[in-house]
Assembly symmetry: C2
DNA sequence: CACCGTGCTGAACGCGTGGTTAGCATGTTG
DNA sequence: CAACATGCTAACCACGCGTTCAGCACGGTG
């Protein structure tokens, strides 16, 4: 294996031109998948990476394995990003504010959105973590007195997370970006358009009367804490 | 054209077996597309309809035209369903409650969700109408005093609609149904899981302090009424 | 009866796909 | 130098796709 192993093991990032072909292929795949979905052909990815299609197979064995490696790589990256920003991700902010704001990570956002679009394991994992995080943040927020308590914190965290991510997904799907930089502007647009109604809803609510909620609470014996 | 024209023009629905082959193909396509997305092969649709793949082309010319006809058919059906239920769709209910509740229309729901998943014109049209409806409903609700007014009703309607539809889309995507009846149970599950947190959020809000909203309002000159 | 239109089929075509493989270029090693 | 390992390519294969087309069955019409 010549010196590839050494290079690869040596560092996480380097200037694009002196990356291992393997890493270059992986990054090209992430970008392609992010931009045009997982229907992207191996040949297109290979072309982006400046190599032949055969080499992709040589390194990864199959398209699925390539994707799996992209998934794993992104999952690790996302975990790192989250850990770096965990302190700043205050409960009051939208849950993935910090995550989505980093512009240099546009391909990651795009890739994750594409994963959601096709419901892959990565998406499930990602959303699962997202919900778990949201549960933690809201719990902290409730304890700190800045967030109103819920009768079912997990259900609320899940509801809010799915709503936010789903709305973003929908927005991006309806108006698909042609390249990653386009994506960040869409994400930004989503936030700027949603921020006011979200804040209004979060602080002023939507209904003037408690009737509908109370009727529901009357009807249902007690809030489930975890089902299914 | 033998008697097909007469049959076809005569009625909208009939018992499945004596439908025109053309209508049978259309319905089969709607079902297939709803269940497995628009990647479904013409051959599979033809098989479902009990005809050959060639006949599909004979009647519709191309897969795209077949899909266009499905779109048109569903758009018309949805319009009719909406008109039928317009009186009952009170503002307080989730906006597409009535629509999603009808079980016999599961294929329609599935088809629309698939459309959202791939961002087709039907989805844009559908969501556009959905937002327009929501604007109307909320306006009525505000006038009636049951909904709190917003600084930007359109933005709120759009936000709420995209959130609801997006969350449902996400839920269905993450846990894809294998047949239409499976779909209705997922939709039901989504509602039952979301209803409490949604009602809580709508009546009790999420944040205990107005600070974040007020800071935003301070920062932004005044609410835009329509941009982009 | 022959003729023909028409709903319809089954085999085929062209193409793009993921995947395979023979072999080239290069550099290390005996 | 010869032998070999290895990153890499070009040509190829099998397959599934949308689509085409020659022709069959059948019913109305002269």
């Amino acid at each position: 294996m010549r010196s590839a192993k050494a290079e690869e093991a040596g560092s996480g990032e380097a200037s694009p031109s002196d990356l291992t072909a393997r890493a270059r292929i992986r990054d090209a795949a992430i970008n392609r998948f992010a931009v045009e979905g997982f229907g992207a052909s191996v040949r297109a990815i290979a072309a982006d990476a400046g190599v032949s299609a055969g080499l992709v197979m040589h390194h990864f064995g199959s398209k699925d394995k390539l994707r799996a490696e992209c998934d794993a790589h992104l999952l690790a990256t996302i975990g790192r990003l989250k850990r770096e920003n965990v302190a700043e991700a205050a409960a009051g902010h939208s849950f993935f504010h910090k995550f989505a704001a980093v512009e240099e990570n546009a391909p990651i956002v795009g890739y994750v959105l594409r994963s959601m679009q096709d419901g892959s394991a990565l998406a499930q994992d990602f959303i699962g973590h997202m919900v778990d995080d949201a549960v933690g943040y809201t719990k902290d927020g409730v304890a700190a007195g800045v967030i109103v308590p819920s009768r079912d914190e997990t259900a609320r965290a899940r509801y809010l997370t799915l709503s936010s991510l789903g709305a973003l997904l929908l927005e991006v799907t309806l108006d698909p970006p042609s390249d990653p930089s386009d994506l960040v502007s869409i994400v930004r647009g989503y936030f700027t358009n949603s921020y006011l109604p979200m804040m209004e809803l979060f602080t002023e609510g939507f209904l003037t009367s408690r009737r509908m909620l109370d009727e529901y609470l009357m009807y249902v014996p007690d809030p489930p804490s975890g089902e299914e």
